[in-house]
Amino acid sequence: MSLTEKDVNHVARLARLALTPAERANALGQLGRILEHIQALAKYDVTDVPPTSHVVPLANVWREDKAAAFANPESILANAPDREDVYFKVKKVIE
């Protein structure tokens, strides 16, 4: 599976990264090399081997669904790039 320019464009859009033309060309070469290295996994037979997503054998961990007050909501809004009152402000979403 060699990486194509089309793949890079597709993945960049999925990842929401604009990327300049130079970055795209660079990504093609570098990701291609890394993926080539990763092909080494092909030699391992994993028939009947279950995947490990997590090493600690924990099942669902439950807690009570109870709301707690946050001490300083203003400190959250203070990090906003743009705001109005107690709202985060963004560009118009629906035309």
Partner: protein, 488 residues
């Protein structure tokens, strides 16, 4: 009396509790030292002088009132800048978070605070902890205190260098594929990655959630045990923190290694590793043997798959975790955007550095439709094989000894243009995260160029005690804990 910066965390806390030292004087001494030496080593992204002095005064006030501020009374701690400290800028060494101020404490920070610690400031790292040299920091490269033309390792390079240069007695880092142990080795200090789940990750900016773990840097093993004891334990705010009791790690230090079975995996002595590193590590193993340990050659047959598995799983998890940086609620927002999609795409492109983008792309690719089975799922299955290697090895040995890194500290710029070469410097530390076991690096010698070499010890899950006991016994029998000449 020796200068304050030469004291261990234990000794500082003892003196502060015994009213022999004032916490505020300790804080001032370390802040002054940091201000004088940091231009040379570039450890700190920011020093939080006022907050540190206020915290120290709080400790002194409690002592004056007859209260005990805790086991880290007045101990200055340097914090990797991917951990949230209320009211302090938390940048992850990224431009995307340049103006982000944390509004809550990470659980480890809360615990350190409650134990009387004093936060000196935030240390440099590879952006979002992705890297092995701190050269991926969007701000500057930290310098190795043993040779400023070399890197301190990474990603927790700032925290490792801070302790090596005695700008802080202890510090916190995070380790996803070796980011505590590798810089500890390259800087000649002790670095501990606890068992996955031992320490709450709440308030650590997530990189790869199934691999990330927070741990301490220190000048000696006993200080690592002390700090681990403070930060460990289950946390309702992190559902992956394990409901396992926290033992008294400091008590385990005197156990020694008599009868301890130490495994030496043949796959960890590879072509291309620095002969000086191999020699130091083999001698260290002989030392353990002379102390009464029983050394057994073992095999971890899937070791060579570790790097490939890691560079699929970690970027995949990162691509999901870093989706939150979209310029909506915090972080950089591009002024060039004309609509919401552009706001996402341009803000992220302008805010993230090249290595972070590379990993996001790699992870997104591995998770994308049509490739998921071949990459992500396959890697998860091979991860199982790697974990089984460790399970099997630990049936016949108590700990595993390996080099921490194939080489000592490399020159700044030497690997920064070749991502794959850089990734290879993590070859010995990665499997530990994939298997979730605890790992510790401690100094075990020096190369001809006077650069420190690290010995890595790996333990059974939730058996940090044996790991610390073996490390403490080795440390006691040797004299590799040294201060770099430049930082005296």
């Amino acid at each position: 009396m020796s200068a304050v910066h030469g004291l261990t965390a234990r000794e500082i806390a003892r003196r502060v509790r015994a009213r022999e030292l004032k916490a505020v004087d300790v804080a001032r001494a370390f802040l002054d030292r940091a201000k004088a030496l940091d231009p040379k080593f570039k450890v700190f992204l920011c020093l939080t002088e006022e907050a540190a002095l206020a915290q120290a005064r709080g400790v002194d006030d409690r002592i004056a009132r007859g209260e005990d501020p805790g086991p880290l009374a007045g101990v200055p701690v340097a914090i990797k800048d991917n951990l949230c400290v209320t009211g302090t800028r938390t940048t992850c060494a990224s431009k995307i978070l340049e103006n982000f101020t944390a509004n809550y404490d990470a659980t480890v920070i809360e615990k350190l605070r409650a134990a009387g610690a004093v936060f000196l400031g935030k240390t440099n790292l590879d952006e979002f902890a992705m890297g092995s040299s701190t050269e991926n920091s969007a701000y500057f490269t930290t310098r190795n205190p043993w040779d400023p033309s070399r890197v301190p390792g990474g990603s927790s390079g700032g925290s490792a260098a801070a302790v090596a240069a005695r700008l802080a007695p202890v510090s916190l880092g995070s380790d996803t594929g070796g980011s505590i142990r590798q810089p500890a080795a390259l800087c000649g200090v002790v670095g501990l990655k606890p068992t996955y789940g031992r320490v709450s990750r709440f308030g650590l900016v997530a990189f790869a959630s199934s691999l990330d773990q927070i741990g301490p840097f220190s000048t000696d093993v006993a200080d690592a045990a002390l700090v681990l004891g403070v930060i460990a334990g289950p946390d309702p705010k992190d559902s992956t923190s394990a409901p396992v009791p926290v033992p008294d790690f400091s008590k385990a230090l005197a156990r020694g290694v008599k009868g301890l079975r130490v495994g030496l995996p043949r796959e960890y002595f590879i072509d291309g590793m620095d002969p000086a590193v191999e020699k130091a590590v083999r001698e260290a193993v002989k030392t353990l043997e002379s102390l009464g340990a029983q050394v057994v050659e073992i095999s971890l047959p899937h070791t060579d798959a570790g790097l490939s598995v890691y560079y699929i799983l970690a970027p995949s998890e990162a691509s999901a975790n870093l989706a939150r940086f979209d310029g909506v609620r915090y972080g950089h927002r591009s002024p060039r955007a004309e609509n919401l999609l552009q706001q996402y795409e341009l803000s992220r492109d302008e805010g993230f550095g090249p290595e972070v983008k590379r990993r996001i792309l790699l992870g997104t690719y591995a998770l994308s439709s049509g490739y998921y089975d071949a990459y992500y799922l396959k890697a998860q299955k091979v991860r199982t094989l790697i974990k089984r290697d460790f399970d099997k090895a630990f049936e016949s040995v108590d700990i595993i000894a390996t080099p921490t890194s194939p080489t000592a500290a490399f020159k700044a710029g030497e690997k920064s243009n070749d991502p794959l070469q850089m990734y290879l410097s993590d070859v010995f530390t990665i499997s530990c995260n994939l298997a979730g076991v605890p790992g510790l690096s401690l100094p075990c010698g020096f190369t001809a160029e006077n650069l420190p070499v690290g010995l890595q010890l790996l333990g059974k899950p939730f058996d940090e005690e044996t790991l610390l006991a073996a490390a403490a016994a080795y440390e006691k029998a040797t004299a590799w804990v040294r201060t770099p000449p430049l930082a005296v």
